[in-house]
């Protein structure tokens, strides 16, 4: 009876907490008429989720060989590639494929040099206007945080990349230079389908299907969006475990203290 009451009171607090989470938090999924991204089984999900590093590395290759011709990756530095298992030499090799403007030198001139590990990923265009001019007026967004910047998250990235259709459905009026993609808000996207089977050749022999490359790209962009995830989760379960034990001990202390109340 008494324990039951105590439990009821405690659950009261919990219920309010849960109600707040479920109902007050807005379902910000009002992304117009776009199709809801299909949810996938990612390796990074869950309390003990880890990065799928081989997949992230393949995604890096897809980014460098395909995406980087239009999309920047401003928040990521070449040195960060060591975190996904590249050796220093491998990371340097990736950096050197990009030219970066440096300077001014002793003569006061700006000059081009190959990127170094300490540089951030070099953007394909020097500014937004240049990017728009080269892309029929559309602005390819920076990809560093894209996996966190859409309600669908990584699932959205994957669904979008695999969701291109050659033909718009009957009766859909397409804009000029637009591609049909049901996952994009408005279902018309200025980006032409970027990936086709064998767009890249994976050195590890993985068949480069559209689905595989999209999967790898999604894993890569998840990593660029929250590179701290592994550290966060591994610290997280220890902290929560500690707090659970502490809570239990404090509950015992509370009971013992109150037992003195005669």
């Amino acid at each position: 009876m008494n324990i039951g009451k105590k439990f009821a009171n405690f659950t009261g607090v919990l219920v309010i907490y849960i109600v707040t989470i479920l109902f007050v938090v807005p379902q910000a999924f009002a992304a117009g008429d776009a199709k809801k991204p299909e949810s996938q089984d990612w390796e990074f999900q869950g309390v003990f989720g880890k990065f799928d590093k081989p997949s992230i590395k393949r995604g890096l290759q897809v980014y460098v060989e395909v995406c980087s011709s239009c999309h920047s990756l401003d928040q990521v530095a070449y040195r960060n590639l060591l975190d996904i298992g590249l050796t220093v030499d491998e990371a340097k090799a990736v950096a050197e494929e990009f030219e970066v403007t440096d300077g001014p030198d002793g003569e006061g001139e700006m000059f081009e040099r190959p990127a170094r590990l300490s540089d951030k990923f070099v953007a394909p265009f020097s500014n937004e206007n240049a990017a728009r001019a080269a892309n029929n007026g559309a602005y390819p967004p920076d990809l560093s945080l894209i996996a966190k910047a859409h309600p669908g998250g990584v699932d959205y990235v994957y669904s979008l990349l695999t969701g291109f259709k050659d033909e718009a459905p009957e009766g859909v009026e397409m804009g000029e230079d637009m591609s049909y993609n049901p996952y994009f808000p408005g279902k018309q996207i200025s980006m032409a389908q970027p990936l086709y089977d064998d767009s890249v050749e994976y050195p590890d022999g993985t068949p480069a299907t559209v689905a595989q490359m999209s999967w790898d790209m999604a894993n890569f962009l998840h990593w660029t969006a929250e590179p701290e995830m592994e550290q966060r989760k591994s610290m997280g379960w220890k902290v929560v475990l500690f707090l659970l034990v502490l809570t239990a001990l404090l509950y015992a202390v509370k009971r013992q203290t109150w037992a003195k109340l005669h």
Partner: protein
């Protein structure tokens, strides 16, 4: 227990005694947090004072360290936050603690406020204590709003634009006020700079009002679930060790839930769009504030009609600020002499309806006004729910509360806390003593 002052002095030794005789901090702590007589029948809803204190301190500490790494400039703010997330040691932890800390701060403060409403904690003699509390809520809202602007994402920028533009509804001087708030003719660098400055300042103002809140509490003493005054020493217990032990346990439960969100779902409460750098040339599809502002946002948007000389925009702004300002006068709007809803059979129902109403308003605030609540049902849009919810909110405070006190037949009050606690089989008030006897 009563001789604790002497104990602490003698056990503290020479230095403590030396300080205490010159500045009696130890005597004060002993009096206000050691033996401070608290009603013996608090339930766990009385935990939230301690929880809120913890949250305020956490926010100030994480905030000060974040400020060391943050750059308040429109060209650098977004990147400096990402630098904190990526390159600053445990910067991601600081930032997620701070951003989710805001969310948990508001959850706690709303529970604390509804606790006060349920048990009539605002009534004589605690009116001023309550009003300090409402002041803290207002300051928290201003602080949270300005803090949300600092990362300079899309929602930061457009939220700031929408909210500051509200002041243009003020007759005659509205536009001048907005220009003055912005420090220019658009939400721009000077706006970001002053918001950063004020976001740093206001928490310390909050801390000051919290001190007043606590001083006022220690003058009147705490309310309790029965809402009747302690009649003597048998009705109270010293704050330490009883409520320190209870608060510590409650706080640990709270922090565990908080940590679970920070480490495993740190962006759950956030708006994804704010991970896109602010772009004044591109308006997001839907501008929504943080979840804790959604009910007010719904009230703001519910006034979509002109009333006499008040146009819809001004009306919305008045209603939104009015929804909080009305709390200041709740002690006088509620005419019932009985504090606790336990003995107010009608008020109890209306309390829960008010809570549901606020949750409904929050739900409405997260949706475009003209979206259908149920797909295909054309006669019910969110704006309709907003009208109903807003009307009920003000009806509750302005009409229901004054009338209930007159017409409600309240249940008989127990003669004393101890008696009620010892005899209780029917109410849940008596846990402390019960637990002793059954343990």
């Amino acid at each position: 227990m009563s001789s604790n002052i002497k104990q602490s002095e003698s056990s503290g030794g020479g230095l403590v005694k030396w300080i205490d005789s010159r500045l009696p901090v130890f005597t004060y702590l002993q009096k206000e947090y050691g033996e401070f007589p608290a009603p013996r029948n608090f339930n766990y809803w009385w935990n939230f004072g301690a929880i809120l204190t913890f949250m305020l301190v956490l926010m100030i500490f994480t905030g000060v360290f974040l400020a060391m790494q943050y750059t308040p400039h429109v060209d650098m703010a977004f990147d400096s936050v990402e630098r904190i997330m990526r390159d600053v040691n445990y910067g991601w932890l600081l930032r997620y603690l701070h951003s989710n800390g805001g969310t948990f701060f508001f959850i706690a403060v709303y529970i604390h406020i509804f606790r006060g409403l349920y048990y009539g904690s605002y009534k004589n003699p605690r009116e001023l204590l309550w009003m300090f509390g409402v002041t803290i809520l207002l300051l928290m809202m201003a602080t949270a709003f300005m803090g949300y602007v600092l990362p300079w994402g899309q929602m930061s920028f457009w939220g700031a634009t929408v909210i500051t533009n509200l002041f243009s509804a003020v007759p005659l001087v509205g536009d001048a006020i907005v220009t003055w708030l912005w420090g220019g003719f658009a939400v721009d660098n000077s706006t970001l700079n002053r918001f950063f400055s004020l976001h740093f300042l206001l928490p310390f103002v909050i801390l000051g009002v919290v001190v007043l809140h606590v001083i006022a509490l220690h003058v009147t003493g705490s309310n309790n679930p029965l809402g009747i005054d302690p009649k003597g020493p048998q009705d109270t217990i010293p704050f330490h060790p009883y409520y320190t032990a209870k608060d510590a346990f409650g706080l640990a439960v709270w922090i565990t839930a908080f940590a679970a969100v920070v480490f495993f779902a740190p962006n759950f409460f956030g708006e994804p769009e704010n991970y896109i750098k602010a772009n004044p040339m591109q308006t997001p599809a839907e501008i929504v504030p943080e979840w804790y502002f959604l009910p007010y946002y719904a009230i703001l948007r519910s006034i979509d009609f002109n009333l006499w000389f008040i146009d819809a925009k001004l009306g919305g702004v008045i209603a939104m600020f009015g929804s909080i300002l009305v709390l200041f006068v709740v002690p006088w709007l509620d005419t019932s002499k009985v504090r606790s809803a336990r003995f107010r059979p009608l008020y109890k129902w209306f309390f829960w309806i008010l809570l549901l109403d606020c949750i409904l308003l929050g739900y409405v605030g997260g949706h475009p006004p003209n979206e259908q609540v149920f797909k295909g049902v054309s006669w019910l849009e969110f704006i309709d729910l907003g009208h109903i919810g807003t009307a009920w909110y003000f009806f509750h405070f302005l009409i229901l509360l004054p009338l209930l006190g007159r017409f409600e037949k309240t249940k008989p009050l127990p003669t004393s806390i101890t008696e009620s606690v010892l005899n209780s089989g029917d109410t849940s008030s008596g846990r402390p003593i019960n637990s002793v006897e059954e343990a």
